[in-house]
Symmetry: C2
Subunit: 437 residues, 2 copies
């Protein structure tokens, strides 16, 4: 062991991710050095409260120094790689910036930061200074999706990436679908189980998924999109009734983030979406995540696994550490983690295609049905399925329409025509994922 190279790691934060990293680096140390011939060691950890951290992590090796001053970590000349495991944007970014200035390589799972300009600027800075900056765990926690996109799929031209990239909402929707329960009730349960935060809005309103889609869009197509330009719809308004009707038509409702690239144009969105029950994404249950890719050569692929959690996320952070260790060893640091770049313009509404699922309420009187069908005909949208749902009262009728492919421009026209008709209410709209092969 004497001639093994040693790489020292400084950890910022010892919460879920940091705790997982410390545990894996301790318990898998032998395998890691057997694989690479490099010995990895966590030498210092920045924490808020040393006593609390020690109490919470009784198995932490004695030789790791805990400190409440992040400068102790960043300015330690023996530390090669700094792992930012605190989350949040402002303070985390400041720490990373200081660490980069001190010549440290960076690993983070911080999607909030990587998805915004401040994060991108830090990544640029790292690259200009021959430093590595890796963030595999920022998307779909335990799934090595970014590494798959950047290396083995670099040989392909991908045109679509879609995924279930938020475990909290997938847990909630799974329980709603499988147990026929309402959103509020399942959310409360998820909060009690620690699967949803006290303020769940970042998850249930779709922003967390949108950040991950920004990162996936960059890794899959080399295209940088602005988080603010992505249409984002969360799951608060998904009703048990929508779920039931969708199920009877062969769909499950999932919160899908997706991005498409075609001829120099890009589109990305996050929305509750109808997924055919034969599609591999339909079987992703509870808090699991999955990313589904489509490429010119590789066709359809899916990467499925845990989207969060101490050990899965920790394992992906450690895999970044091991890759950087190799680069340090072979003096090849500074290659960008997102290694492909191209320009693209945002797709026009006329070119964004999808099958649509509409759920209308109308007055139950003669002539309504034909008026509704006329709206679709006016927008030149052809229909796949139309049926009237049985309702308990005599005065209103509920009508479900599933279209063939239509553009977002046509969808907007239908929305306007519906709003212009006081006797017609659009209760809900979902786009429908195409069938898998």
């Amino acid at each position: 062991m004497a001639n093994l190279k040693q790489i020292n790691i400084g950890l910022l934060g010892l919460g879920t991710v940091g705790g997982g990293v410390a545990k894996i680096m301790h318990e898998h140390a032998q395998k890691m050095s057997d694989t690479e011939g490099i010995q990895y060691r966590v030498s210092k950890i920045f924490v808020r409260d040393i006593e609390k951290s020690k109490a919470k992590h009784p198995g932490l090796p004695e030789d790791i120094q805990l400190t409440t001053d992040f400068n102790d970590v960043i300015n330690d000349p023996h530390i090669d790689i700094v792992v930012e495991a605190m989350g949040g944007t402002s303070f985390a970014a400041d720490c990373i910036e200081s660490a980069l200035r001190a010549g440290k390589h960076i690993v983070t799972a911080n999607k909030d930061l990587v998805a915004i300009k401040r994060g991108q600027d830090l990544i640029q800075y790292a690259q200009h200074h021959q430093l590595d900056f890796s963030y595999e765990a920022a998307v779909a926690g335990g799934i090595p999706i970014l590494n798959s996109l950047r290396t083995p799929l670099a040989s392909d031209k991908l045109f679509s990436v879609s995924g279930i990239v938020n475990g909290t909402t997938n847990y909630i929707l799974t329980k709603m679908v499988e147990q026929g329960r309402g959103f509020d009730e399942v959310l409360a349960e998820a909060q009690a189980l620690g699967l949803a935060e006290a303020d769940p809005s970042g998850d249930v309103d779709g922003l967390d998924a949108a950040r991950k889609i920004v990162i996936l869009t960059k890794m899959a197509f080399g295209v940088t999109v602005d988080l603010d330009t992505i249409p984002v719809k969360g799951i608060r308004h998904v009703t048990a009734q929508d779920i039931q009707v969708a199920s009877s038509l062969g769909y499950v409702i999932k919160l899908i983030g997706r991005a498409n690239f075609e001829d120099g144009t890009v589109y990305a969105e996050v929305a509750p979406t109808l997924v055919p029950k034969t599609h591999p994404l339909s079987t992703v249950r509870n808090e699991m995540n999955a990313v589904f890719t489509e490429g010119a050569a590789t066709g359809e692929m899916m990467f499925y696994g845990p989207g969060a959690g101490e050990l899965p996320t920790g394992a992906m952070v450690v895999s970044d550490i091991m890759a950087i260790g190799q680069h340090i060893h072979t003096e090849t640091t500074g290659q960008p983690f997102a290694n492909y770049s191209q320009e693209a313009t945002w797709k026009r509404a006329e070119d964004i295609q999808s099958v649509g699922f509409f759920h209308f309420e109308t007055e139950d009187k003669q002539g309504q049905f034909i008026k509704l069908v006329q709206i679709f005909d006016d927008a030149k949208v052809s229909l796949d399925k139309v049926f009237q749902e049985p309702t308990s009262d005599d005065t209103t009728a509920k009508i479900v329409v599933v279209t063939h492919e239509m553009s977002q421009a046509q969808l907007q026209q239908i929305n306007r025509a519906t709003q212009d008709n006081p006797e017609l209410t659009l209760i809900s709209y979902y786009s429908v994922l195409p069938e898998a092969k």
Copy 2:
């Protein structure tokens, strides 16, 4: 473009895989050089018949030289990487050996060769001479499973890998399950569609899957197992009746290759296996492949995609080429593709655990049922489900037994006791995959 490094590729073979490689390297050349700053070019291809090859590949760039002498490729000093895309073992191995002696890096999709000692010896030779030898496409064609195991999952300790790694048998079983058709009929259809070979034994008898399990066992656990020691059962004896009974109990039948590692012991097998319908592997249909991993940190993951085909397999070969290009560029070639090694002994029959599904035929007379249950009791196997199937005649009865976990030693005891009882016939036995999380 003038300062781009150029890497020249020599191709041996222009069949399905070779054709895919040539096509992708031509059509994705720009993306490949944008990503890595390296320009890749296929310069020579060894073929059996130049005119036939030209006729079959009209889009092949003019500047690629076709030759019927493989020495033209191997001894070309401008060629950096030789891609062996012929298949088979003996001649392919000879060509690879010559190429290695000439200092070429090797990429192959040849699982027949990599899974046997001759292949392993060539891999050793490459490593000793600082040459790369990569074979991502040898398992599950278009899915980057080996790269996922060797890099991002290197941080984890995996203990189980199981998968649907033969597209032909998965196609046949899918049609048998979904359409209630018999094996012979669907095999003939698969042959007509080009999904099964004229001599289908390598696929349907499980040998192809076994080769891939040898490679997965090495990549997942670092353990080399001998192809001949793996118990292999194919799908010829799977009946429509088995499928129907399994389905009524919530299972689909899949040809599963799997390997487990635990405390220095390893076990691997290939057999038609009952997969719970809630398990992600159950949704892998037709010729698609998937590999399911279980690890201490990452928990359950699945990698799903096309298992074969010109472009998917070609894309993975090209991803190996790009990785080697990077290594050449950074002067870091010669690192083993399978980068983890440890010793293990084969598991004892007492330690190989599985749930069992038994389908018996007995004479329909009083006392048979209790005799059968007694056999399980004698072997100390507890039962999960027992039921008698309705049959059309009065003289025989069919009984299905699903056990709780039992060892292979217990299974052998049950088999012996059944054989000792002339009134009892075991029509079929399957092990049952555990439920996923």
